[in-house]
């Protein structure tokens, strides 16, 4: 292991390689995906804020001890490659709501990558874009799965019944213990990740702080 100065330690705290957990796939950080300090990462954070609905400075505070942004950037870059680069470019050129809407158009080649990015921030887990796409295609209301008119007219046809799944969880892997502990869905629910809370005895008897306390930056 190379000598680590405190500065590189501070930066690398955020760039920790994904922890290998059994039953998961590790994403090692390829050298080319080393988070570029400054511009690209900040662009990614701003893009993520629009996608997730959470303030950019909550996703990535100025002082960021845990620094999950770099882990998500690396995962998105690895999975998205040129598509990811083009998303950043387009967003840099125009960071409007229309740009975001275009990313999420049903036929857009950025659709599933954008969704992976949202899920990374919300769940601390990486869902491969192709997994998300496959799930949509196998869903009962998907065009590909719709029964023919003849079939649908049969009394026994139940198009609304979900197809039998082995597990309800869609395949993913948790990027690291740190990203799990920083998942946004729990804060959106005014709660905390199961297994990671910094609260006090008896808090559960009281109403939680309002949603804004969780997702809006302090000025």
């Amino acid at each position: 292991m190379t000598e680590m100065s405190r500065r590189t330690l501070l930066a690398s705290v955020a760039a920790t390689a994904a922890t290998a957990a059994f039953g998961t796939i590790t994403i090692p950080l390829p050298a080319s995906a080393e988070p570029t300090p400054g511009q690209d990462l900040e662009l990614f954070v701003q893009l993520s804020a629009k996608l997730t609905g959470i303030d950019a400075r909550k996703l990535a505070p100025s002082i960021d001890p845990i620094g999950v942004k770099s882990e998500y950037f690396a995962a998105a870059k690895k999975a998205g490659g040129a598509t990811f680069d083009s998303m950043l470019r387009d967003f840099k050129a125009s960071s409007t709501d229309e740009t975001i809407a275009n990313f999420l158009k049903p036929d857009s080649d950025t659709l599933y990558l954008a969704r992976s990015i949202i899920l990374a921030w919300y769940l601390g887990a990486w869902y491969e874009p192709k997994t998300l796409k496959a799930e949509v295609l196998r869903a009962p209301n998907a065009e590909a799965n719709k029964p023919s008119a003849a079939e649908a007219s049969k009394p026994s046809a139940e198009p609304s019944k979900p197809s039998a799944r082995r597990y309800n969880l869609v395949r993913c892997h948790i990027i690291s213990p740190a990203t799990y502990s920083q998942g946004w869905v729990w804060r959106v629910a005014q709660a905390h990740p199961m297994g990671y809370g910094n609260l006090e005895f008896g808090y559960w008897s009281k109403e939680p702080p309002p949603l804004d306390a969780f997702i809006k930056s302090e000025s």
Binding site: S5, S62, I63, P177, Q190, L199, F201, A213
Partner: protein, 501 residues
């Protein structure tokens, strides 16, 4: 850059945080936020003396008499930390500021109680603080008033062997030899325990006495939220007072054998540790009170301030405690002598960071009883390696800071102590006086994990990285501390209150 930037690090605008700390102690006692809790002894102290506009590079030029803690001794605390002039990374600059402040704290607290500048080994300011067992007395009795210094409560068996200035080490308390939550005992390479003591300063002690928190009964009827006095440097308009605030100390000691581990008459064996006279009190032992020489190996300070309601946590270790994993891997441990590591024992014979075989209690050790004086020691010697960030590398920020301060302390035992790092709450909510009302009461501690190898030996991180809640973190763990009130309430980041009887 303007002079303003070199003064107390005050980040206005986006963050509105002030890195602060307490500064000059006024000659008259001032009323703090909690009212009359933080009376200071009067010491000749000039409140208009500010820290020099020093950066790391300038440290060598500083006249030691100008650093208040060095000259003032009792009651003094360092003034505001300075961020480095250059460097673009905000977090690194703030971390440096806190680390600098930690060094000044170390100097101030370890300065001689008698008031001389830090230098030749002498009883320190913090050794005059009240020890936990002298505050949380049997049957919840009220502790004796504060005096300067505070003599310990002497057990009746020790009345003859006790001499003024000794620190009584209470081996009937499990906290003295077993790390928190019974996580493990630590044995040095002589087979002697590392011994742990917990102390509090006057404002913290006074708060406990004023609110009768020194007994379980007192805590049960205390209706408010515990809120220890805040330190303030007087630079905020809402907090114009200059006051120390609550400080708590946890120290770890090693037993040093005269003539073997040190010899005052032999320059080759001159002491490398800050040493005190200790009195081991072990009521069940054949000899309940035994005098020993103790050397300081680990030093924790927790300090509560107006803008850091999660407290500021710093830790120092003696240079010879343990190697880092890098040093072990790089073969750099050969020929060195560590307190808690044997470089000549292979990993297969001495697996690292393991708790000792049970039992750990002194009265249960084989041979029949632990006796460091008669050399009945534990056959087990802890083999400890530091897993987390290390102060060792000279070009690391902390490494440079350590080197600079060591240069100022050359020729004293104090040059053998390294700052590991400082943990501080980094989110804007850190100045919220009700952390319990926040979505996350810890307000983003930075760095995330911190362990002293002599005090959190067995909950260090694994080689790669820490694990949330499992790996030692001062703020995360202390956030769980409560009173004995029913229902349990927050105890303001200290486990001291749960020890009341």
């Amino acid at each position: 850059m303007s002079r303003v930037e070199l003064l107390a690090v005050k980040i206005t605008g986006v963050l509105g945080i002030a890195v602060l700390l307490c500064c000059a102690v006024p000659t008259k006692s001032k009323v703090g936020r909690t009212g009359g809790d933080d009376q200071q002894p009067t010491v000749g102290f000039n409140p208009s003396v500010h820290c020099p506009d020093a950066t790391l590079a300038d440290l060598d030029k500083i006249n030691p008499s100008v650093i208040p803690g060095v000259t003032q001794g009792i009651g003094g605390l360092p003034c505001d930390a300075q961020a480095e002039k250059s460097g673009t990374d905000l977090t690194a600059r703030l971390q440096h500021g806190f680390d600098y402040y930690s060094w000044l704290t170390f100097i101030a607290l370890n300065s001689p109680a008698a008031g001389a500048p830090l230098g030749k080994d002498a009883p320190t300011v913090w050794e005059g603080y009240k020890q936990l067992p002298d505050v949380m007395l049997p049957a919840g009795m009220k502790p004796a008033d504060w005096s300067d210094p505070n003599p310990p409560v002497v057990p009746h068996q020790c009345v003859d062997s006790f001499k003024k200035g000794m620190m009584i080490i209470h081996l009937e308390m499990e906290e003295t030899y077993n790390e928190p939550f019974k996580s493990g005992a630590l044995f040095d390479q002589n087979g002697n325990y590392a011994l742990f003591v917990i102390l509090m300063n006057r404002p913290m002690f006074q708060y406990i006495v004023n609110h009768s928190l020194y007994s379980r009964r007192g805590q049960e009827i205390f209706p408010d939220e515990v809120d220890f006095p805040n330190g303030s440097d007087g630079s905020h308009k809402e907090h114009p007072e200059q006051t120390v605030g609550a400080v708590m100390v946890k120290a770890s000691w090693r037993v040093l054998r005269p003539g073997v581990d040190f010899d005052l008459n032999n320059p080759k064996l001159r002491p490398k540790f800050h040493m005190i006279d200790g009195l081991l009190y072990q009521p069940e032992a054949p000899e309940p009170c035994r005098q020993v020489k103790l050397g300081l190996v680990g030093f924790h300070v927790g300090h509560k301030t107006v803008t850091r309601q999660q407290w500021i946590w710093t830790t120092f270790e003696h240079h010879d405690n343990v190697p880092t994993q890098e040093e072990v891997d790089g073969g750099l441990t050969k020929g060195r002598q560590y307190s808690f590591y044997n470089p000549d024992c292979a990993v297969s014979d001495c697996p690292i960071n393991q708790t000792p075989p049970w039992p750990w209690q002194p009265e249960k050790l084989k041979p029949a009883a632990w006796d460091p004086i008669k050399h009945h020691s534990s056959p087990f010697k802890s083999q400890i390696v530091r897993m987390g960030p290390s102060p060792v590398f000279a070009d690391d920020d902390v490494g440079k800071l350590n080197k600079a301060f060591h240069n100022r302390l050359r020729g004293t035992v104090w040059e053998n102590y390294d700052l590991i790092t400082t943990q501080w709450p980094s989110a804007p909510c850190a100045n919220n006086p009700n952390p319990g009302s926040l979505p996350d009461a810890t307000c983003a501690p930075f760095p995330t994990f911190l362990a002293n190898t002599t005090l959190e030996t067995f909950s260090q991180q694994d080689k790669d990285t820490g694990v949330p809640l499992a790996t030692s973190s001062c703020i995360s763990c202390h956030n769980n501390a409560t009173t004995q009130h029913r229902p349990a309430t927050r105890s303001d980041f200290t486990f001291i209150l749960e020890k009341a009887k």
